[in-house]
């Protein structure tokens, strides 16, 4: 396939995916639509992880907590304050974003393990907090969210409407993350990930970059959580435990942590695998995940996306234009780290 053709294909791919996505609820049955909507609600969270963990190299285990925060924001606003469900979503994202900044500033001074530890604590503490503030969140018993059916003139049922909301948010997150990955900030993040000291010495404001990436991932997770609440209709603190956070990271790595398509693969896996595993045994899904990850780690360290790239390589194509490991790209990244520094200084 010639370069130009493959480039064209690359630009077109997201639109094709979107078109397929829109067609789905009208072609498939309600149950499948529901499952796909659930998967799409995870997509923003995984996209956020691509930015902070895949590109930024920061191991963020706490995004399950931001997801939960978004879910509860939406739930509480709809249930106790009667907001329209669509209006709650920006609120969910925004609140998560703000909390992300507040937590990000102190934690991003920490390197490697220490950050992972902190976010791990966050993942464990969050369900406790949600259980504690019972009056708002409904405590251990959970929160039910009852949405009115769409008006009859629209001709779609509740499941389809929920799906379309999920799709819209997922598409927006996808587009935005794609822009981040391919732009200045993505390259700057990669430079910081590869060699923080050098990136800093070239003028990147490393802390700003990291906090921004962290807050962005938090916002997306919050958005996804809000969608999740709408799609599922019932949330409880035990939905969002450490196991959930672990699942997000596993989904990210299995799907391919460096690209937005990897996030898409990941969210399909995160929903798909438990469905298959449940046919063996209810509790088996954890085991299946574990075995899958271990196999994948030893056979396909770059995740599904890495596999497809390798296959594309065998067919003689150059693969897509995304991150290549040549020295030049590295230097470009460092250059962009400096440029992004300029951005950061002016913008914030």
């Amino acid at each position: 396939m010639s370069r130009a053709a493959s480039q064209f294909g690359i630009q077109l791919a997201p639109l094709v995916a979107l078109a397929v996505g829109v067609a789905v609820p009208f072609l498939l049955d309600s149950y499948t639509t529901f499952q796909l909507a659930t998967a799409l609600s995870y997509l923003p969270a995984l996209l956020g992880l691509v930015v902070i963990t895949g590109l930024g190299g920061q191991i963020a285990l706490g995004n399950g907590a931001f997801f939960a925060l978004g879910a509860y924001t939406t739930g509480v606003l709809i249930k106790s304050y009667g907001w329209n469900e669509l209006a709650t979503l920006p609120a969910a994202g925004l609140l998560a974003f703000v909390v992300g900044i507040v937590l990000g500033v102190p934690s991003l001074r920490l390197k490697g393990h220490f950050l992972a530890v902190l976010t791990l604590c966050l993942a464990v503490v969050a369900p406790q907090l949600f259980k504690h503030f019972e009056s708002i969140t409904g405590g251990v018993g959970g929160l039910g969210i009852f949405l009115a059916d769409p008006p009859s003139w629209v001709r779609i049922d509740a499941t389809q409407r929920n799906y379309l909301i999920a799709l819209a948010i997922a598409a927006l997150s996808f587009a935005s993350t794609r822009a981040v990955i391919r732009g200045h900030i993505g390259r700057a993040l990669r430079a910081v990930r590869d060699n923080e000291a050098i990136a800093a010495s070239l003028g990147a404001n490393v802390t700003h970059l990291k906090v921004a990436a962290f807050a962005y991932s938090a916002a997306l997770a919050g958005l996804g959580g809000g969608v999740f609440a709408i799609v599922i209709g019932f949330i409880a603190p035990d939905n969002f435990t450490l196991g959930f956070a672990a699942l997000l990271i596993i989904g990210l790595v299995l799907g391919g942590k460096d690209s937005e398509w990897g996030a898409l693969n990941g969210c399909l896996l995160v929903v798909g695998i438990p469905l298959y595993a449940a046919k063996i045994d209810q509790t088996a899904s954890g085991l299946v995940f574990a075995l899958l990850v271990l196999t994948a780690t030893f056979l396909a360290p770059a995740g599904v996306v890495g596999l497809t790239r390798r296959l594309a390589g065998y067919w003689g194509g150059t693969g897509d234009a995304a991150p290549n490991r040549s020295a030049n790209a590295h230097l470009t990244g460092l250059h962009d780290a400096g440029a992004a520094a300029g951005h950061c200084h002016e913008g914030k």
């Binding site: 963990t53 190299g57 191991i59 102190p106 934690s107 001074r109 920490l110 390197k111 490697g112 393990h113 220490f114 992972a116 530890v117 902190l118 791990l120 604590c121 464990v124 503490v125 406790q128 907090l129 259980k131 504690h132 060699n195 000291a197 050098i198 010495s201 450490l242 196991g243 672990a246 699942l247 990271i249 596993i250 790595v253 942590k257 045994d281 509790t283 088996a284 899904s285 954890g286 085991l287 995940f289 574990a290 075995l291 990850v293 271990l294 780690t297 030893f298 360290p301």
Partner: protein, 291 residues
């Protein structure tokens, strides 16, 4: 005043469990630079092994010691089979393997033993010693005693034996150790084995009081990680001291400040504060990075 002392002593008992697991984390980190997120679930699984042996009719001490041996071997196998041959040493890949062990052992335990809460008999006889208005259960005394014994044994191992010296060498500089003929892989394996055994011990000490189910060690793990981290991740003494301190703080916070719901939150907030002020932990050493 007496109540405060009592709460402190109760806190020390849970702290001892955190300290034991924190020691396991430090052991692995010192030898291989990895922070093992799955340590708690491995500990939980080995505690279940002790439970099963006990159910089978073995006296609890025998079951416990056997479980310790089994977990030692399992730790060595995990290191040899999973972590040594990892195709990439990227932190994310390692974390993912650990998370999958986490999720995997949890699910496996649920499959084998169900999620029903089980009781594990204590290693120590029931009963209390009372002095004035403070009472120590034999459990508490025994737990702290075991921790002390473990610390002494580890200290002797690392400072007085050839094996301990080789392990320290392998941890300090793996390549140089190889050039001296030391089997570095075996040293790491022993480190993992010891860590697994320590985790098993933590589980066996904790289970009689807090009961056993597949999720039982998650709370302990968080505090153990916090203790190890605040202690500097490479400092065994730091981990033990921090573990005990966290147990006490948690207990006092639960009794006097926030109520038992949020008692877990206080030590974690303390961690955030400490790490913000001293990013390398309280007893840790700042390492300069050469570019």
């Amino acid at each position: 005043m007496w109540a405060l002392l009592q709460q402190t002593i109760d806190g020390l008992e849970s702290g001892a469990v955190y300290a034991a697991l924190a020691l396991a984390l430090v052991l692995i980190h010192r030898s291989t630079g990895l922070l093992n997120f799955a340590q708690g679930e491995i500990a939980m699984f080995s505690t279940y092994v002790a439970f099963s042996l006990n159910q089978f009719g073995w006296p609890i001490w025998l079951a416990a010691v056997s479980a310790l041996v089994v977990s030692f071997v399992a730790g060595m196998i995990l290191e040899r089979a999973l972590f040594r041959p990892l195709p990439t040493k990227e932190p994310l890949a390692v974390v993912v393997v650990m998370l999958s062990l986490f999720v995997g052992f949890n699910a496996l335990a649920g499959l084998i033993w169900s999620y029903q809460v089980q009781r594990l008999p204590s290693l120590f006889p029931a009963g209390m010693i009372s002095i004035d208005r403070i009472s120590f259960s034999f459990d508490a005394v025994g737990t702290l005693g075991v921790l002390l014994l473990v610390c002494v044994l580890l200290y002797l191992l690392f400072s007085r034996t050839r094996l301990g010296l080789m392990m320290r060498g392998a941890a300090s500089d793996a390549e140089s150790s190889r050039l001296l003929g030391i089997r570095v892989g075996t040293m790491f394996g022993i480190g993992w084995g010891l860590a697994a055994a320590l985790g098993c011990l933590a589980g066996i000490l904790m289970a009689p009081r807090l009961f056993l189910d597949p999720n039982a060690m998650q709370g302990v793990l968080i505090f153990a990680i916090a203790a190890a981290t605040v202690g500097g991740l490479d400092s065994a003494a730091g981990a033990v001291v921090s573990g005990l301190a966290i147990g006490v703080v948690e207990n006092l916070a639960g009794a006097y400040v926030v109520g038992s719901d949020l008692r877990a939150v206080v030590p974690l907030v303390a961690i955030v504060v400490i790490l913000s002020l001293r990013p390398a932990g309280l007893f840790g050493t700042q390492r300069a990075v050469r570019v």
